[in-house]
Amino acid sequence: MAVRKKDELEYDHNNDGVDRRGFLKCMAWAGTGALCVMQGGVLKSFSLSQMSQMGSKPTSAGELSFVQISDSHMGFNKPANPDVAGTLKAAVDKVNTLATPPEFMLHTGDISHLSKPEEFDTVDQILKSATPKDIFYVPGEHDMLNDDGKQFLERYGKGSKGAGWCSFDKKGVHFIGLVNVLNLKAGGLGTLGHEQLEWMEDDVKHLKHSTPIVVFAHIPLWSVYPEWGWGTEDSTQALAYLKKFGSVTVLNGHIHQIMQKVEGNVTFHTAASTAFPQPQPGKADSPGPMKVPAEQLRSVLGITDVNYVQGQHALAVVDSTLA
């Protein structure tokens, strides 16, 4: 491989089969609504206008459309965004105007900022006006404060196991929600834990290799930037259970910026926050809220639209910003 320039992102790996320049170009388009799809190891891109033509026909059997939102941090009120309720509402408006109405939503955690009941209440209230009525949640570390996630379980944990992990099927796609924000160890990263890993191994054991898998969890399941805690200690084990599947999509949050990595059959993707952005790995002293000029805020917040067409190898993941 060519010698890396000093300021290139260190977490990117070489052997993912994707030309990095082409991928970065694609990700730059993502902010304006581009679709990047891996098909047979080749990266293809479509503009959002093409997508809306494709999506304008009613969803037929074998087509699945859902949305991921993340990191709403209800209760945050510092300069980086003094109105996180307003930007969450804008995200809901965005969801409601998608060309293909999503069937359900995933929230990949940090629903609240301080795990306060009124913060959860406000998010629930705002999401009530989203068209998709089914919403599946996994907690972020901000949802586990003071009570180790008891409130999260009470509100969103119906049908889940342990700290709130779960799985379900939609139109032949198998979804796995994981919790990697409990029992964090000093100096450590996200952690899944033995009990959850055992459950997951059992959960996917009997699935056909052709079943598309979508895993969603708060902290990235790949090593984005360990220095800032952006990774999960035991995710390798979880991914090992998914090796046999032809199509795996991993959706995460936590880092408040869009990032994507493809490794063999696995596409990793992190969503923007609906509350505030955070700096790119290593580009600041710490991973805290990043202030941008007020008029730019909505262009660094967003939602992720995911479409699956039966027969296609990969799920189509489209990020769109709030402005």
């Binding site: 510092k78 300069p79 980086a80 900022h113 301080l114 795990s115 570390e141 901000h142 404060l145 003071n146 964090l184 160890k185 000093a186 100096g187 450590g188 990263l189 220095e227 800032w228 805690g229 002293d285 710490s286 991973p287 805290g288 809220p289």
Partner: protein, 118 residues
């Protein structure tokens, strides 16, 4: 003869008294100077400052969060565990025994610190 003996005794007694006062004062000054250590930890920019704090037994340490994001202080040995501190909120703990207590922020576990109690 007796008067001079009693004068010497008086002077000696006074000398002893002054020496005792002097020693007491030096002792008081020394004790005041032996407690100069800070008992505060400032949390800012995803770090605890100072990272290692040394205090004497019986000291109360107060953590103050000056970051724009909430943090906690949780010792790895189970000795102390704060509730979540939002910006400008505090947590205090009084250390009854000598020991070394590594701790971390349970929300951002990469943040670590240590309190050494002597």
């Amino acid at each position: 003869m007796r008067r001079s003996v009693s004068s010497i005794a008086l002077i000696a007694a006074l000398g002893i008294v002054f020496m005792a006062i002097g020693t007491m004062r030096r002792g008081l000054i020394a004790r005041a100077q032996s407690k100069p250590e800070s008992t505060a930890v400032k949390i800012d920019n995803f770090s605890f400052g100072p990272a290692t704090l040394t205090v004497s037994v019986g000291t109360t340490v107060t953590w103050t969060n000056r970051d724009d994001i909430p943090h906690t202080a949780v010792s790895t040995d189970g000795v102390f565990k704060s509730k979540v501190m939002d910006t400008d909120e505090q947590f205090s703990f009084t250390f009854p025994n000598a020991g070394t207590h590594p701790y971390f922020c349970s929300i951002h576990p990469k943040m670590t610190g240590k309190v050494v109690v002597q």
